[in-house]
Symmetry: C2
Subunit: 119 residues, 2 copies
């Protein structure tokens, strides 16, 4: 499976709202997940179990009203997916979120995901 | 100047159509420019003069009808900008192009730009 094929399959699952399945199918067991939050314990999470836990935490703390998924954008062993979300973080006002995921592929699996926030 | 400030200033120039000025102001002298074209001589171009020449070649071979610029998306020392273009490559049919630039910053300059094509 080429990076382009993986990128398209992964993004297609996201477009169908199957984010968990995309992760289960394509993350490597030692996947690294990075958020632009220097000093925060969520800034760099390593390993499938920890990254799944991070996902559960996120869904428990955000009510997602809708997600628009665009992409993938491919270059070499990396690809990007854009997520435009309408959500309500727990105890906060409803807000829009515009985020890009940058994924690095090795041996047919995603070994790193890194999120970029729209400014 | 932080990466976030540079990202915003760079993207603002692009939003104003001042792509050349963005490069002149923020590229490092040994900037590396990468396209997802394995084996093509344009795949990896190094140095300000060569990257400017690549830009001139591109403009000479593409008639740009409009560009929509979105971003920046920031994470650590990197940022992304989305370019959605309506263009006519020389001798070809008018087409849409959806492209992401990934920029790496060091010492207040862009040391690498890497383009991802929407699939």
């Amino acid at each position: 499976m080429t990076t382009q094929e993986l990128a398209q399959a992964f993004t297609q699952l996201c477009k169908e709202g199957k984010f968990d399945e995309a992760g289960k199918r394509y993350w490597s067991d030692d996947v690294m997940s990075r958020e632009p939050m220097p000093g925060n314990e969520m800034a760099a999470i390593k390993g499938r179990a920890a990254v799944e836990k991070k996902g559960e935490w996120w869904y428990a703390n955000n009510e997602v009203h809708s997600v628009k998924v665009e992409g993938p954008y491919v270059h070499g062993d990396q690809f990007m997916v854009r997520f435009t979300m309408d959500l309500t973080p727990k105890g906060q006002a409803r807000m829009g979120m515009d985020e890009m995921g940058l994924y690095t592929v090795k041996d047919g699996k995603v070994v790193e995901e890194s999120f970029f926030y729209g400014q």
